[in-house]
């Protein structure tokens, strides 16, 4: 079998997570106005200030324009045809046993059976099913260390002082079109607080899944690591296969106080839309940003293989002296996928350091764009940045684009940016074939080698999953 045939076979493989779970839903009729936000806030029994905060964001959003600068092409979203709240009917869960077995089955199909996980890797999971967090495992064990890990709505009830202090402190409510929308209508998400000097004993994890059709998912994640604390957080996403596009506009805020460390890893595998026509698929318009105080460090690692459109720029504001920001990314576009993704590093403090490693892989008719910014402000003496953006093209119909913005305002800063574009050479494949490797294995090996620097940064379980995902998404597109 020649390599093209192998590639085609792989490319034609179906989206494995494209099943729909049949659960009774509580949902709002489509449409957005102030009454929807009031109703949403009422269901969640939110305090007055939060309702006001949402309404202010909503009014702001009405004044804002949807950004058009990204190199992506999509049908405009009709924000009035989206239902802004969908929840499984069963509510108020005390233990895992009360979770709808259908939902648990969904997670099993996704490969994260909750009860198994308890025993297995020691990963605590906060699972978000459509908009409501259905179960949080390991809560007690974390509680002993003083760590708060719960759904966002729960945190609003139980820890209003923390929410009020940190919500919107990194991504202000009017930040950008999608973040503002999220601020107005966010339904749920995860909240993590790690107290001073505590090293979180296990990796925390959320698994998102969009199930209902015509719904948007607007989750909001807030992670606060107090002075000297450490936490590693994993996020994984899938969605069922549908013909219409679905919107996912999340906001993630990370706050690393003095000397704290936050590692945030994402494996994103939303439904990418039909391979040929591009119909359906998730619009992934996400705002992720972290704030580093003195000597703090934040690291974003992402493996993006899904979504029809990805619009995502995880950023770090290096406010405190000696703080560190890192971004490691693998973005794969095949079929008709389009991704415009990258990172922003804003150096404000002295001796701040940042690293950006971005690996883009385009196959089929995918369009992959790296867009990033490194900004070194006048006070950021001795700031250091290293950026590397590599692209790999597989097939002649895809595109790979790189748009870094480099803005240096301090002479003691050292800034380096490198980018390369290449393809898997026939000579490389030939070399591997000669040594007894099939073309398929050779491609997989070369791609994995290309992404190695990023995979190394992922926690073990995730790294394995990411490699598999990449294999599945790629196979069939190498020629």
């Amino acid at each position: 079998m020649n390599s093209t045939a192998i590639l085609e076979e792989f490319a034609n493989r179906d989206y494995e997570h494209g099943f729909v779970t049949d659960v009774e839903q509580d949902r709002f009729p489509p449409g957005l106005d102030e009454s929807v936000i009031r109703a949403l806030s009422a269901i969640k029994k939110e305090p007055e200030w939060l309702l006001e905060w949402r309404l202010a964001a909503y009014r702001r959003w009405q004044q804002q324009q949807e950004p058009e600068w990204a190199k992506v092409d999509y049908e405009p979203v009709d924000y009035q045809s989206i239902s802004y709240y969908a929840a499984p009917k069963t509510n108020s869960l005390e233990s895992l046993d009360e979770v709808d077995p259908e939902i648990l089955k969904t997670y099993e199909k996704l490969g994260i059976p909750l009860d198994e996980q308890k025993i297995l890797a020691g990963v605590a999971v906060d699972a978000v099913f459509d908009s409501v967090s259905v179960a949080t495992t390991y809560k007690e064990k974390l509680g002993e260390a003083g760590i708060i890990f719960c759904s966002f709505s729960e945190a609003v009830q139980e820890h209003p002082e923390l929410i009020r202090r940190f919500l919107g402190s990194v991504v202000p409510p009017g930040d950008n079109f999608f973040a503002t929308l999220n601020s107005a209508v966010f339904s749920d998400g995860s909240f993590v607080y790690v107290p001073k000097g505590v090293r979180c004993p296990m990796e925390l994890s959320t698994y998102f899944r969009i199930n209902a059709s015509n719904t948007g998912q607007f989750e909001r994640t807030l992670i606060v690591a107090d002075e000297g604390a450490y936490v590693s957080y994993l996020e994984g996403c899938t969605a069922p296969q549908r013909d219409e596009n679905q919107l996912h506009a999340a906001v993630v805020e990370l706050v690393a106080l003095k000397g704290a460390t936050i590692k945030y890893s994402t494996v994103q595998n939303w439904y990418p839309g039909d391979k040929e026509t591009g119909a359906g698929g998730i619009y992934n318009f996400v705002t992720k940003r972290g704030l580093c105080e003195e000597k703090a460090s934040i690291s974003w690692t992402q493996v993006e293989t899904g979504s029809a459109i990805t619009w995502k720029y995880p950023s770090v504001v290096l406010k405190g002296d000696d703080s560190i920001g890192e971004f490691y990314s693998v973005a794969l576009t095949s079929g008709r996928q389009q991704a415009d993704t990258g990172s922003k590093m804003i150096h404000i403090g002295r001796n701040t350091r940042s690293t950006i490693i971005s690996k883009g892989i385009s196959a089929g008719r995918g369009q992959n764009t790296y867009r990033g910014q490194v900004k070194i402000l006048p006070k950021a003496a001795n700031a250091r940045n290293f950026s590397q953006c590599d692209s790999m093209l597989i097939g002649s119909d895809c595109g790979a684009h790189t748009f870094p913005y480099i803005d240096v305002r301090n002479p003691t800063a050292r800034m380096e940016h490198e980018a390369t574009t290449s393809k898997i050479g026939e000579d490389q494949i030939f070399y591997c074939n000669q040594r007894g490797l099939s073309t398929e294995d050779a491609v997989s090996m070369i791609v994995n080698g290309f992404c190695k620097e990023v995979f190394r940064k992922l926690p073990m379980e995730f790294a394995v999953e990411a490699q598999k995902l990449l294999g599945v998404s790629l196979e069939g597109s190498v020629g």
Binding site: W69, I376, P378, S391, L393, I394, G395, S396, D397, C398, G399, A400, H401, T402, F403, P404, Y405, I406, D407, V408, R409, N410, P411, T412, A413, R414, M415, E416, H417, E418, A419, T420, T421, S422, K423
Partner: protein
């Protein structure tokens, strides 16, 4: 507006008239660019000043130190061709140099004027199309090899002026030439030059663009180069002066085997803003392009480099690279580097690299440990930094003069 209409009337029925009318229309419909437009977000357009300043009095240019003895020379003084100072007598047959206003005598040139930078591409391209009133038309017939460089001097010695020069240069198959375009001014005038460079199959062009305007002058330039099969262009932009400088350089590799080397050096001082905006488009397979841009920024000057490599679908075998480096000599200097790749073919090799920083302390220490004074050592390192760009200047005499000048300037720039 009246002046423009008069201009158009001066060339009734000609291609120029059409171009002017088209330019005027486009300028009216496009309006001035704003910071909201991606390609103008860094440019301080508020410094533009009066675009409608009338044509100044005839100047009395002083060209000492500017002349290149062996060159074929056209001198434009305050926007007018000065025939007394020009010298194009020694041209071989097969090479024609004339004022752009005489384009009607060359139907082939008349046919293609405005093709590479049509008025609708941008407000200032439109403005130039509507208003240009001086510049050179250079045509080299197939196989013509020109000995000695062509030297175009644009001199301006008045305070207020808005000048719109335009060149059209055609090198037909296998023609070879070296062209130096030199902009000199003494006051805060604004100059908006536009040049279209056509290279036929196998042609070879060296082009040095020397922007040596007064520190208060404003200079917005537009250059487009189109390369046919196996042709080769070496383009170098030196930006030494002006308070507001911007050069848009558009290069299109149209046919197999073409090669473009583009380089630029920008020296900023005071509160000057300097910007190189480069776009290289690979439209055909097996072409190569190289970009090498450097900026040295002192005081509170700003340097911008935006370089985009576009590889069109089907342009397999493309080899494109780009390197941009900025040297910051002061706490207040700012460098923006935007290297961009837009690639729609898979069998390509594209790289870009970009760095920003101050002078290497270790290199400085090395030199000082060998008995070289601090200021001298810094100037040497700066010259080395600039040298990568300067080395491609083929006219030795001019290169030496420029190097000497830069050394003097670097000595001055070291005082922080």
């Amino acid at each position: 507006m009246n002046a423009l209409t008069q201009n158009a009337e001066a060339f009734p029925g000609s291609a120029l008239e059409m171009l002017r009318l088209h330019g005027e229309e486009s300028f009216q419909s496009l309006g001035l660019p704003s910071k909201k437009q991606e390609s103008w977000r860094f440019t301080p357009l508020n410094r533009l000043g009066d675009l409608d300043a009338p044509l100044p009095q005839t100047g009395s240019p002083r060209l000492e130190g500017l002349l290149i003895p062996e060159a074929h020379r056209l001198v434009f003084s305050n926007g007018r061709l000065n025939e007394r100072l020009s010298n194009i007598e020694a041209l071989p047959s097969g090479c024609r140099i004339s004022s752009i206003l005489e384009i009607a005598q060359d139907p082939e040139a008349e046919e293609i004027i405005g093709d590479l930078l049509p008025p609708q591409t941008g407000a200032f391209q439109a403005l130039n199309s509507a208003r240009f009133d001086h510049g050179a038309l250079i045509v080299l017939e197939a196989g013509t090899r020109l000995e000695g460089p062509i030297h175009l001097i644009h001199h301006c010695d008045t305070e207020e002026a808005a000048l719109y020069p335009r060149n059209l240069i055609m090198l037909k198959a296998r023609a070879e030439a070296t062209i130096i375009e030199h902009f000199v001014s003494t006051g805060p005038m604004i100059r908006m030059p536009l040049a279209e460079l056509h290279l036929g199959a196998g042609a070879d062009l060296h082009f040095l663009r020397l922007q040596d305007e007064a520190d208060k002058a404003r200079h917005l330039g537009f250059v487009a180069i189109a390369l046919e099969r196996d042709s080769k262009a070496e383009f170098l932009s030196l930006a030494l002066g002006a308070d507001l400088f911007r050069l848009e350089l558009e290069t299109t590799l149209r046919s197999r085997g073409a090669e473009a080397s583009l380089s630029g050096l920008h020296l900023g001082r005071g509160a000057a803003h300097g910007e190189h905006l480069v776009r290289v488009e690979h439209q055909a397979p097996d072409c190569s392009s190289h970009q090498l841009f450097r900026s040295i920024l002192s005081d509170s000057s700003r340097g911008v480099f935006t370089g985009r490599i576009v590889v069109a679908p089907g342009a397999q075998g493309t080899d494109a690279n780009q390197s941009s480096k900025s040297l910051l000599l002061s706490d207040r200097a700012v460098a923006f580097n935007n290297p961009q790749l837009e690639i729609d073919a898979d069998d390509v090799r594209c790289t870009h690299g970009s760095t920003v920083g101050e002078l290497d302390e270790e290199a400085l220490f090395y030199l000082r440990a060998r008995g070289i004074g601090k200021e001298e050592a810094r100037a040497l390192l700066m010259l080395a930094f600039a040298g990568e760009v300067l080395q491609s200047i083929g006219v030795e005499d001019l290169k030496t003069r420029l190097e000497e000048r830069l050394i003097r300037r670097f000595h001055g720039a070291t005082a922080r």
